[in-house]
Amino acid sequence: MGRIVAGVGTSHVPAIGVAIDLGKTQEPYWKPLFDGYEPAREWLSKVEPDVVILVYNDHGTAFSLEVIPTFALGVAREFPPADEGWGPRPVPIVKGHPELAWHMAESLILNEFDITIVNEMSVDHGLTVPLSITCGEPKEWPFPVIPLAVNVVQYPPPTGRRCFDLGRSIRKAVDAYDEDLKVVIFGTGGMSHQLHGERAGVINKDFDQRFLNDLTQDPQRLVELPHIEYVREAGAEGIEMVMWLIMRGALGNDITEVYQNYHVPASNTATGLIILENNS
């Protein structure tokens, strides 16, 4: 059977990708952030997952306002990095895992999570920046990746509870998979940031740090947090943090936090990184 051994929460700020791609990670502005990523890279290279399920949001790239799927699961063999307006990022093609992805799609839908199945899509910074953060700059990504894109751009995004419950259903699906697979799930986006309007640039360190801590200490509080609290307290685009609850829901009750990092700013955004090992 498959087994979800750990969850990773991380921001997916596009400027972090640009800093890596342009070789700026040792510059004074970026060095403290990237120093904080080193332990996570070491951890992931030791874990050697067979597959990563990566929860992220598309930013008007593969999807636009034409069609807005709430949850879209990529079942393809590969996903090319997207041209987001200045050419695709110079990173490897993302290889999928169609067997597990199709199994997940079937299992989720028959368990009444009516997700969208995607056979072809490019993946934007929302997916590739977390890979760069945790893997550096390899010639090939070290594991296949199953993309799970969540709508957090058009209101209403899914509720925190729905995200958490989706995570639980993902865990059931992975548990029921025939082959022995070691799976790590990523929840990405956030932390506090607002990119638009006169309030652009708002940061709320207290909210963010409480969010990070409550992933282990009080996940129930996070599950019940309404959208307006994210928008008011963590900035309009801070709503991305609901995606971390899919990751948290896919872990059991008995988890251990093995790493946490928080840094302000990366461009417009407060960045967080957390690693949670699943003991159950």
Partner: protein, 130 residues
């Protein structure tokens, strides 16, 4: 009906709800068209003619695009993930756009972020702002 008016109390924030999606659809889809290099080139060579391909844009939406009124675009249904594609076409960063929308130069905005960002205190509610 889902009521999102509670969000209107948050200052300087424009929830991308059904009304804004509806109002801004053609503006945002114009921005989406700039994801293709040949469209960016066509737009740059004659902006007004390129915009004529989007006849459902309102006059105000056209004005905002042509004058690069970044906050104005948000007021008429623009979504930042789409208007930033126009910004990218112009070679402008998110920090430039964020500064422009909040009345700061890019340098002032960048310094504010390095100093910890725009404080949340005083920015939660319009009543708090006074």
């Amino acid at each position: 009906m889902t009521d999102t008016s509670g969000f209107d109390d948050i200052p300087g924030t424009y929830l991308f709800n059904k009304d804004r999606c509806h109002e801004g659809y053609h503006l945002n889809m114009f921005c989406m068209s700039l994801m293709k290099a040949e469209n960016r080139e066509a737009f740059r060579s004659d902006e007004a003619a390129y915009l004529d391909q989007f006849p459902l844009l309102t006059l105000e939406q056209r004005r905002c695009v042509l004058e690069r009124d970044w906050l104005g675009m948000i007021h008429v249904g623009g979504n930042i993930y789409y208007t930033s594609k126009l910004g990218a076409t112009d070679g402008l960063s998110f920090q430039y756009l964020a500064g422009a929308m909040s009345g700061m130069t890019q340098e002032e905005y960048r310094e504010m972020m390095i100093a910890g960002g725009r404080p949340i205190n005083g920015n939660r509610s319009k009543s708090e702002k006074g």
